[in-house]
Point group: C2
Chain length 128, copies 2
């Protein structure tokens, strides 16, 4: 099955892809392919962002002024890449999303049956 993101529905991540990308760019400028790999590795393969999602996020965020792009050749090779760096606005946006996340997480958590059902190990699904 193509469901690489096992157990993670994109509907939840929706709206947080931008945040993830900004988190990467906050550390240092980067480009599409590498960001995609970083996200995958940070999440320990639990989340793999789709290419189209990634690039549409780039153009959206650049339009919003959260990131800026510039052309550059990578290593010794002549391969051109589009690098992105985070802007001040982007950093501010990222921090807002972090705050929002704490809030939202708290709210959703109230509607989740947590530890109790997990401890009694009563899982009847073939999900993994």
């Amino acid at each position: 099955m193509n469901e690489l993101n096992a157990g993670i529905s994109s509907d939840v991540i929706r709206g947080y892809n931008d945040t993830m990308i900004l988190y990467i760019l906050k550390q240092e400028p980067s480009y599409g392919y590498e960001i995609s790999k970083r996200i995958r590795s940070i999440s320990e393969d639990k989340y793999i962002i789709k290419e189209t999602t990634l690039y549409s996020a780039f153009s959206r965020m650049e339009k919003n002024g959260y990131i800026e792009s510039y052309e550059a050749a990578g290593d010794g090779s002549g391969k051109k890449r589009t690098y992105y760096r985070i802007s001040e606005t982007g950093l501010k946006y990222y921090r807002e999303k972090c705050n929002e996340w704490e809030l939202t997480k708290d709210v959703i958590q109230r509607f989740i049956d947590g530890s109790s059902y997990l401890t009694m190990k009563g899982e009847e699904n073939g999900n993994n």
Copy 2:
């Protein structure tokens, strides 16, 4: 002033409205207006579900077999209401969403600055 849900973007909640509704119905059958108020009160006014969102969730979930509806008059009045009760499938779905939530929460958290988990500094580094 329609921004009643201060600080909470619907993009995050997206996909978890169903879960919230099922959480309410898991306790006892209920109907639209009351569920809406329950969600508002449980979240301490931090999240207020839109009417259209609520009712479209009903029809979606009924179509999926997660809930069942029945007509009933409420209190002494002759007002007809459409009550919903959760089904076995719905309960199973709810539990899956709970599991998914724990997973997703953990993943997103890795891209968020500001919590204590950062202080322990054991994060991903040059690990690739």
